[in-house]
Amino acid sequence: MPEMTLQPEKTATVVEPTVFELSSPGRTGITFPEPDVPFTDLPLDLLRSNLPLPELAEVDVIRHYLRLSKFNYSVDDGFYPLGSCTMKYNPKINEDTARLQGFAGAHPLQPIETVQGALALMYQLQEWLKEISGFTEVTLQPAAGAHGELTGVLIMRAYHQSRGDHKRVKMLIPDSAHGTNPASSGVTGLQVVQIPSDTRGNVDLAALKSACDDTVAGIMLTNPNTLGMFDENVVEVCRIVHACGGVVYGDGANLNALLGIVRPAELGIDLMHFNLHKTFSTPHGGGGPGSGPVGVAAHLADFLPAPLIGIVEEENEEEDIPPLYGFVTPAKSIGRMKAFHGHFGMHVRAFTYIAMHGAEGLRDISEYAVLNANYIQARIKDVYHVPYDRICMHEFVAEGQFEGSSVRALDIAKRLMDYRFHPPTNYFPLIVHEALMIEPTETENKGTLDAFADALIKIAEEAKTQPELVKSAPHTTPFGRMDEVKAARELVLCCWLPEDYGDE
């Protein structure tokens, strides 16, 4: 055991106090009217003794959160080439439409006659997602991508079981798949079988064939995969899995490459989730809320979670009566994935976004997203090794390491912050050493892409000439690298009002 010298714990500098530290007895940020009804006695034996919440004035609260906001990097602030996350610009109009009183004020359980606007919007969004993907039916209920995956896997299980096929216990997952897929399968009790990639970044067909038998529930395929490659054999992959009775799940995280380019259902994919917070530009919110609708082919439609939005009374054109939208429960539904009908606020934003693009605009999105990724790839590939060097889709993966330098992908990521860029995704996918996964999205202009490529090239140079500079980065950010071991070992997860709070 190494010799340890005890040093007095240095108190960390507090850059911004917490709301608990800012609290002062007797303050409040808001007051409410006095009751306009007679008082009713409270049940004394059920009351809590103390409510230890902070007390702040409105100005304290605003200044606190404004100061905190300045410590954040965001899409509104700059380029965010985070692979597989599709950090495109979030149009401001979407924020306004989602906040319209008729939407924001609607209770989810109101009589359907009073919420026809909301239901019509959801119905139309289902239709548009069907048209974009080629699927027969879409549910808007799942709350995020991973929630959509869970929905999909539960549908796959229910489908097999409904046919009396109980021996399908395996889920095939290519090593280039999205990172959440193994957990989504694991939590439903399926065994995960990893399928390797071939030298072109496609699913290895020989390995796939040998893994396929009558115990396979299906495959979870990310296409384009996390290498940014469109699987050149995708139709064959689907055929092989179908031949053994398996179902093909498509992870739609990378759909930003495919709008108007190809309909996943036509390739043979049986079901897929959409990430409205990636492809359809609903904001990421610093970690959610997302929205993960799921589309399915006809044979899986009966298993969708309940409820779906449907037309419960047809339009009567003669009498000029519009259709009545309402809720529909599929015949063999897996049940409910969450309370109510999904992240409606995100549906409004995605609806606005699709309406403002139209068919041509949607194809533009994918074409320019792919153009931007290939452009950065072309600009840096002489300096950064790109292990799968072919035309990529909306993202690509480079290696963040150099012969003769101890600088690693993590250091490059941190150094990019000094150039005022958000780092790419690093250390994923796992099949590329020191991976830097770069997804520029379509909303960035050539000037930004050039500046980013220039910064990467400059950092590669620094890695050779001034490695310490790179390895100790970032230098210009408000905070430096974190002591993650301290966080995990000491586990300070909450703060409280001081013990003597309120004592005079």
Binding site: T13, E16, L109, T180, V262
Partner: protein, 455 residues
């Protein structure tokens, strides 16, 4: 091309750098027969046209605060949201950021989540909180995952009280498909007048978790202290699903000995928004922290000696633990958690208590007035918070249709979920319901009773 900034000249220069002739050439890997299908989606709208179309759709809804009065709750509640909450949420620095995986440039998000965790732990009387689940229903389902993991799969029984929100119960049923568990207690035909003790004979040494609700789906307040002690004697864990506003006044599940507290955070400054996005909160005791799913922020220091925050214990999570993870949650409700934190910071100790007291007094006034109407009554006798079950002289659908004529959205039809509560309506009253609105409801119900009487 609204949000795509390329000029044709720039595009061509970029294509030349890549070494292809056209945008279409970038898609050679896509099978030709399926390439460029042509989508049947209407032509693009300008922002002005889209704003107009969306306003039209929004106007096709009638909502409380607009032209209707509402007494609908059942898991989502209309509360006053201070203006400052949305001003913070509309800052691009917060809402256009990603998950804070790069702590050097994400301290705004990280510290605000840390504060959210602290606020929720304090509110629920627990020791730790995660950074949120999708909603109250999925948080309850995650409590099952945690309990099963805690016993490493050796206990296979989950007891869910029938008075837990039916949508939570349905979600738990979906989530546990394939987990090989036995769900008990989740019976809509159970005796709803019985207290939690009625569940005791279901609990044994194979029970991992018992889930109860506080106030329960019918608004009733039960002190679970004795019950939780009994469950603990069998070694099982207890999860209490709560309404966060009620906790401003009433004894916390923490004080009662609960192991897990979950709930719907929507009442904490989040708009109804037709059902989402909301906020599932999840708090527990420190001993269970490694088994809890979801993101977690912890305090640390940076290389410059500054106090700072990071995502911690990430090896519990799906992207590292992969198929061995107990939950697949990834993106959660970050911005909604921020909204709740701002709301709680603004209201603080006195504001939240005021809201809860207003809800309590107004709901009791409403219950008292309704009980005076011939043919109507309140059916349970236990103390309640801001929601109560009312029985009426006719099917709820009939009463609600009548009320809607008066511009009133009536309560939730309990007969949908509980056969024995046919003709029972769940009425929610919050600080947003002025006495005048309650009197209007009472007047309309009196009129309905008169019509029934005359029929």
């Amino acid at each position: 091309m609204t949000y795509i900034p390329h000029s044709p000249k720039e595009r061509d220069a970029m294509l030349a750098t890549i070494g292809v002739k056209s945008l279409a050439d970038l898609f050679q890997a896509v099978p030709a027969e399926y390439r460029f299908p042509g989508l049947n989606i209407p032509p693009a709208l300008t922002e002005m046209e889209a704003a107009d179309e969306l306003a039209g759709l929004a106007d096709a809804n009638s909502t409380a605060g607009d032209d209707l009065i509402s007494f609908l709750g059942a898991g989502a509640y209309r509360h006053y949201i201070p203006a400052a909450v949305d001003h913070i949420l509309q800052r691009g620095e917060f809402y256009t950021a990603y998950t804070p995986y790069q702590p050097e440039i994400s301290q705004g998000t990280l510290q605000s989540i840390f504060e959210y965790q602290s606020l929720m732990a304090n509110l629920t009387g627990m020791e730790v909180s995660n950074d949120s689940h999708y909603d109250g229903a999925t948080a309850a389902a995650e409590a099952v995952n945690m309990a099963v993991a805690n016993f490493r799969g050796k206990r296979g029984k989950i007891i869910v009280s029938p008075t837990v929100n039916p949508q939570y119960r349905a979600t738990i049923r979906t989530y546990t498909r394939g987990m090989g568990l036995t769900l008990l207690g989740d019976d809509p035909n159970a005796d709803l007048y019985a207290g939690p003790e009625a569940l005791e004979n279901l609990i044994d040494n194979d029970t991992a978790l018992v889930i109860v609700q506080y106030p329960d789906f019918f608004g009733r307040l039960n002190d679970f202290t004795g019950f939780i002690a009994k469950v603990h004697e069998k070694g099982a864990l207890v999860c209490v699903a709560v309404n966060p506003t009620a906790l401003a006044l009433f004894k916390t599940p923490g004080e009662m000995g609960a192991d897990i507290v979950v709930g719907e955070g929507q009442p904490l400054g989040i708009p109804l928004s037709f059902g989402g996005p909301y906020l599932g909160f999840f708090t527990t005791r420190k001993q269970f922290v490694h088994k809890m799913s979801g993101r977690l922020v912890g305090e640390t220091v940076d290389s410059r000696g500054q106090r700072a925050y990071v995502l911690t214990l990430t090896a519990r999570e799906q992207h590292i633990k992969r198929e061995r993870a107990t939950s697949n949650i990834c993106t959660n409700q970050g911005l909604m958690a921020l909204g709740a934190a701002v709301y709680l910071s603004l209201l603080g100790k006195s504001g939240l208590r005021q809201v809860a007291e207003l809800c309590y007094h107004k709901a009791h006034y409403a219950a008292e007035q309704i009980a005076k109407i011939p043919g109507f009554g309140t059916c349970f006798t236990e103390p309640f918070f801001h929601e109560f079950a009312m029985c009426g002289p006719a099917p709820v659908a009939e009463i609600n249709a009548f009320l809607l004529e008066y511009g009133i959205i009536g309560g939730y039809d309990l007969g949908q979920d509980y056969p024995s509560l046919k003709d029972h309506m769940l009425i929610a009253v919050t600080e947003m319901n002025a006495k005048e609105e309650i009197d209007t409801l009472v007047e309309a119900l009196r009129e309905f009773a008169g019509e029934v009487d005359n029929a």
